[in-house]
């Protein structure tokens, strides 16, 4: 169970690195999907099957498909790759990555010194328990989540309307 | 009840003028003139029938006896009430405000021609605020009027001023004036509130009234800090040298009426504030602070004089001369001798008249020559009717020529301060030489010397002639017979001097050390 955790953790890290340094949008997307699946495996390894399933279905399934769909609309593919390469010149990514590394270092050091000594043995937390808390004390939060989704739905549908679909207004009108 | 009317009349008059703009050009001017005349008449009536020879306040009496008092609770929770009171000092200064208000309206008869109603509204609101300051005895009300004075003055300079020399715009000058006085007003507010809380701390109830706050015992350095709060607020308005930056700019860019008001009355509110609030509320702190204040006054005298000699703009020159005169006022206030304090009152009145006269003269020069630059003037003596003659008289007054009220005031201050601080007086007396330098420079550059062309300008018309003659008559009258002025303020000054009865200000050089020899 630990082996699965460490292995999939490694895969996840490598995949995200691939996403971040990728020049081709579609390749990056695929790397992202791989990383999400690796994280799902980690959840399973940790004994949170409900979360793992959610991750795969909602995250990898729905959101990534959305991304792929958008990328396909804008047919980024190969054309934009050279452009990406120009943008990724050395001096653009050195600064931010150093900064991220420093932040990482700080987090790791604080975690390392934290030594709470908690160890995860791997017994699963069943979806039933999660469901009970969700619809028990956290009922309001779920309602709020629902409202958030509704708001996102409305905005996305409104903002994302493509000109061709509307009645011939010039593109980028003042919706 | 008449006190309330004294405050309200200018405000009502102002509103009337504002509306009267619709009925033609002359209406606002006449209404403004009548309002200020009303204020002056009311004060004169008060002066004649009221007797201001308050018997020497016996030390024990806690309540200070006012000639007239009018009190209405305003915010009872904090002990704030609309408490107006009148005594000798405030009466003299309100009469001065009335007179100078009339002058301001008269001298801008032809000068202001756009938005006349709004101009007179601002002018009368300033005067109303000033009358409020002189009457308010409740510290909150005093602060209310103190801040209320500034806004219309800002508009007066910003909207009707002239653009300054070297491109300094009048908006900049107005803003500078506003920031200076506003910031210092804030300091005073903090001091007032601290005082009220200190009062609350040991009597358990809030009160802003002057009589109560007089009794609040304060620790040594707390009193010094609060006194400094008040002093800085008044020092900016007086103006005392380091904080004087706003006066020359405000004067150079203000319209004549604004300058007359500014120099004539607004500077006096600061001196009044010191005499009414800074000294009585913190007697010991003021005593220890006296030597520093006197040196500041001296610095003011010399700094104002030296800078006045170097100015090219006539109104800036006159502004610096009033800084120099106000240096003497500061010395007189902190000298602590009754003679000097009486001298301060006479000097305040005299400076108001001579500064108003000089500003009206420069206003008329501007109307004729359309410039304030001394380089472009010269040899104007015979070419302007009797204006040069009057300016000679006012220059003599600002010079401190005996026979004018300035001389009486200045010499009383110096006579009074000599026993307590001889060194300050000796250096101050040398200031008289500098007064001669800048006054004669003004005369020399404007009226004498070769004239650029011999074009004749029209002389003074009836209005201007009566105005200048009136002011000069008053300057000479108080120069030769200042007794009525002195009698009205003798009681108040006695009280203020009583505070310094305790000990000679620590820093002063007692007479014997100067003698340094066999007695």
């Amino acid at each position: 169970m630990e082996l699965a955790f460490y292995l999939s953790g490694l895969v996840a890290v490598l995949a995200t690195l691939g996403v971040v340094t990728g020049t081709n949008a579609v390749h990056a997307l695929l790397y992202l999907i791989v990383s999400l699946i690796a994280v799902a495996i980690v959840f399973f390894a940790l004994g949170a099957p409900f979360a793992g399933a959610l991750e795969i279905i909602v995250y990898a399934g729905a959101i990534m498909v959305l991304f792929v769909f958008v990328v396909m609309i804008l047919n980024l593919g190969q054309g934009a790759a050279e452009q990406e390469r120009i943008w990724l010149k050395a001096q653009t990514w050195v600064g931010p990555s150093i900064l991220a590394a420093v932040l990482l270092g700080v987090l790791v050091i604080t975690l390392w010194r934290g030594n709470t000594g908690l160890v995860i043995e791997g017994e699963t937390l069943t979806a039933k328990a999660v469901g009970a808390t969700l619809f028990g004390p956290w009922i309001i939060v779920v309602e709020l989540a629902a409202m958030l989704l509704l708001a996102a739905l409305v905005t996305a549908s409104h903002v994302g309307r493509l000109p061709s679909a509307t009645s011939g207004e010039h593109s980028g009108g003042d919706q | 009840m008449i006190l309330l009317w004294l405050v309200l009349v200018p405000f009502i008059g102002g509103l009337l003028c504002w509306q009267a703009d619709r009925w033609g050009e002359k209406a606002p001017r006449w209404i403004a003139l009548i309002t200020m005349m009303l204020v002056l008449i009311m004060t004169l009536v008060l002066w004649l029938q009221g007797d201001y020879q308050l018997p020497a306040m016996n030390a024990g009496a806690d309540s200070i006896r006012w000639a007239m008092e009018w009190k209405v609770p305003w915010i009872p929770r904090f002990g704030i009430d609309v408490h107006l009171a009148l005594d000798g000092l405030s009466l003299v200064l309100i009469a001065l405000t009335g007179f100078l208000g009339m002058l301001a309206v008269l001298c801008s008869w032809k000068e202001i021609d756009d938005r006349i109603g709004f101009f007179h509204l601002n002018l009368l609101f300033i005067l109303g605020g000033v009358v409020g300051v002189f009457l308010a005895i409740d510290l909150f009300l005093f602060f209310f009027f103190w801040e209320m004075m500034l806004v219309p003055m800002y508009f007066l300079i910003a909207l009707w001023g002239h653009s300054g020399s070297e491109g300094k715009t009048r908006i900049r000058a107005a803003i500078k004036f506003f920031i200076y006085t506003q910031a210092s007003g804030l300091l005073m507010l903090v001091a007032i509130l601290a005082l009220v809380f200190a009062h609350h701390a040991n009597t358990g109830e809030y009160s802003f009234s002057y009589a109560d706050l007089l009794q609040t015992p304060l620790s040594e350095n707390m009193a010094m800090v609060l006194m400094l709060g008040f002093f800085i607020a008044f020092a900016v308005k007086l103006p005392v040298v380091p904080l004087h930056g706003w006066l020359p700019d405000a004067h150079a860019q203000a319209p004549t009426a604004g300058s007359v008001d500014l120099a004539g009355i607004l500077l006096k509110t600061a001196a009044y504030g010191m005499l009414r609030f800074a000294l009585p509320l913190f007697p010991e702190a003021s005593q220890t602070f006296a030597p520093i204040a006197m040196t500041l006054g001296l610095v003011g005298v010399f700094y104002g004089a030296v800078l006045a000699c170097g100015q090219r703009d006539i109104k800036r020159l006159i502004a610096y001369t009033s800084i120099s005169h106000m240096g003497f006022v500061l010395i007189g206030i902190y000298s602590g001798s009754e003679l000097a304090l009486q001298g301060v009152v006479v000097l305040m009145v005299a400076h108001a008249f001579s500064a108003a006269g000089l500003f009206i003269m420069s206003g008329q020069l501007f109307e004729r020559l359309n410039t304030r630059d001394l380089q472009e003037m010269g040899g104007l003596w015979g070419r302007m009717g009797s204006l040069p003659g009057f300016s000679l008289c006012f220059v003599a007054a600002s010079l401190g020529m005996p026979g004018t009220a300035n001389f009486v005031g200045e010499f009383m201050v110096l006579f009074g301060t000599f026993p307590t601080a001889p060194v300050v007086v000796i250096i101050g007396a040398c200031g008289m030489v500098f007064a001669a330098i800048y006054s004669l420079i003004l005369m020399q550059r404007v009226y004498f010397g070769p004239s650029l062309n011999d074009q004749k300008f029209e002389g003074l018309d009836g209005r201007e002639f009566t105005m200048l003659l009136g002011i000069f008559a008053l300057v000479v009258l108080f120069g030769l017979y200042p007794q009525p002025l002195l009698d009205t303020t003798s009681a108040v000054m006695g009280e203020v001097q009583g505070l310094f009865q305790g000990s000679l200000p620590a820093g002063s050089v007692p007479m014997s050390s100067l003698a340094g020899g066999g007695q």
Binding site: M1, F5, Y6, V13, T16, V19, V20, A25, A28, S35, V39, F43, A45, L46, A48, A51, L54, E55, Y59, A62, I63, L66, F67, V70, V71, L74, L76, W87, L88, T92, G95, P96, A100, A101, L104, L107, L111, W112, G114, T116, G117, L118, V119, I120, G122, L125, V130, A132, L134, W138, V141, A145, L149, T155, A156, V159, G160, L162, S171, G172 | -
Partner: protein
């Protein structure tokens, strides 16, 4: 090996978060920015789960659910904006859209 100490899980989340953050900062293409955002959100979710399971409490996973809803909502709006950006400026470069300059 008797189980995974919580710190390792959290360190993994931190690494993922840092990589996402770096990507956010230096990528100029809007799509990659959104993807890095997703990574960061995902790593936050991971941290919740690790902590939740370490303390054996279901709240961690409940919170994870919320993280996911948030990610979904944010992604949809982000992509909608992306499309508008593309329509309007014919480019996906975030630097081109710097109208709000000082």
């Amino acid at each position: 090996m008797n189980g995974i100490p919580m710190e390792h899980g959290l360190i993994l989340a931190a690494i993922l978060f840092a990589i996402g953050l770096a990507g956010l900062m230096f990528r100029r293409n809007m799509v990659f920015v959104l993807m890095s955002l997703e990574i960061m959100l995902n790593s936050a979710g991971l941290a919740f789960i690790v902590a939740g399971t370490a303390w054996e409490q279901p709240e961690g996973q409940a919170m994870f659910l919320l993280v996911i809803t948030l990610a979904a909502a944010e992604a949809s709006v982000g992509l909608a904006l992306l499309i508008q950006l593309y329509q309007r400026f014919r480019t996906l470069d975030t630097d081109a859209v710097s109208g709000m300059r000082g």
